[in-house]
Amino acid sequence: MTVVTTLPRTDAETPVRRRWNGLILPAVLILLWEGASQSGIVDARLLPSLGVVVERAWTELVAGRLAVDVAFSLARDLAGFALGIPVGLALGLSPTLDRFVGPTFNAAKQIAVFAWIPLISVWFGVGEAAKIAFIALAAFTPVVVNTWTGARSVPRDLAEVAQVLTLNRWQTLIRLEIPSALPSIFVGLQLGLIYSWLATVGAEYFMTIGPGIGGLMTEGREHFHMDLVILGVVLLGGIGLGLNQLAHLLETSALRWKRS
């Protein structure tokens, strides 16, 4: 449940040799891993060799539906975004809503997101609907918070320009308020992407219907298939990394617009 920045960007002037330094530690660890499992110092069931894990990865990717499920997870995020942005806009643009609904939202936000799982599992079951609800909920919070902040901070002089030009409500909304809130909205989407990925992983443990990486790992754990578990960890890391980079790209593209 961490919000992590992306990998460090190496400067242009960093000599190539320095960049390789980052690989030393992982390489050593992999060597130790292989050594330990091949030589039998550690039981092969507890630490399968790299080859076994890779083999398993291949089987799962080819025969399993992992790729499909990850795509599904991303689609589920959209539900959270679709709900979160309008709510955040409403809260930011309407002082009334801000006063009356805002505090309740802030209070509900305090409840750790996983604490909602038992309730959601009763209301929605443990299948697709429940997953969507939970992931949407996880994405909802950062999107609303950031959209809210963005919508609240429309620059005063620009608002006056809108008045001078006698823009009606709708025009003010789409020409002024939404564009000025866009950078914050993007930050919210970025955080929402990350949080909903974490929620996806979590949801898999509790709502076990349907394939997914969490299910993979649970199965691995139950049958003591360490290779499955390790594979799951690696996959999680990889996909998480990919998503973080994607989110970072979203942010830079939004800020580029703002800077120009």
């Binding site: 009356f100 309740t104 809210w148 890391g237």
Partner: protein, 284 residues
Amino acid sequence: MTNLELDRVAFEAAVADQPDRRFGAQAGGRLAGGLRTIAAALIFPAALLLVWLVASLFDLVPAQILPDPRLVLATFQEFLETGELAFHAEISLLRVLQGFALGASAGLVLGIAMGLSRRMRELVEPLFLVIAQVPSLGWIPLVMLLVGIDEALKVIIIAKAAMIPVTINTGKGIGNVPRNYREVGEVLTFGHWLTLTRIVLPASVPTVFTGIRYGLTNAWLALVAVELLASSEGLGYLMVWGRQLFQLDLVIMAMIAVGLIGFILDWSLGRIERRLQRWEAAGA
């Protein structure tokens, strides 16, 4: 600003509307305004509560899906009286504080090492970030196979959750200490130790503290998740138990407890942070 800081800014703006302190005649006006704000804030939840009550009274929703709010209140009172709520809350709190202490100290050490030594950062940071990408929950099956489902599992996962933000922010905070500050140390012929303790560490405190705050929030989140999965006492366990018995009043009560404790934890750190910032601003 980084994503972390923007999120923090949004959090502050949305939650902490601190009224300025005023004295004398203005204080009365402030007080009335404050009360009005609280009253306004309570209208919406009161309305929700009313809808809930009506729905229960007229059996619009089955009791297993939405318990009577009066039942939730009664359960709450009962658990308070028997001390069971305190028992479970204490266990959860203890776990989170243990894990947090472990993770934060490890994070501080690692962060300081990475912030001070470029070599260290090159060696360790890529691997660290890759490990950090795997969500805390993702480690549970692995750690479970290694250490079982006892306290060790919970403390390890919570420690991991706390360590990541602390390390990142500490590294960043130390790295961002301005060159001029270090030069002052050189002018005053400080050795390594003095430079570290008198200049670098104090200057990095704001960023480090943000990391600590995030660490505690993450630790609490991780605790809830771990307790839901693999525990026989604690607030998470209460929720699972209530869920399995279809006693949603238990679940809702535990949820509120989780929210309250999470809020108190973050609020206390926020107070400390504000005090630190006042020192920072005064000294600047």
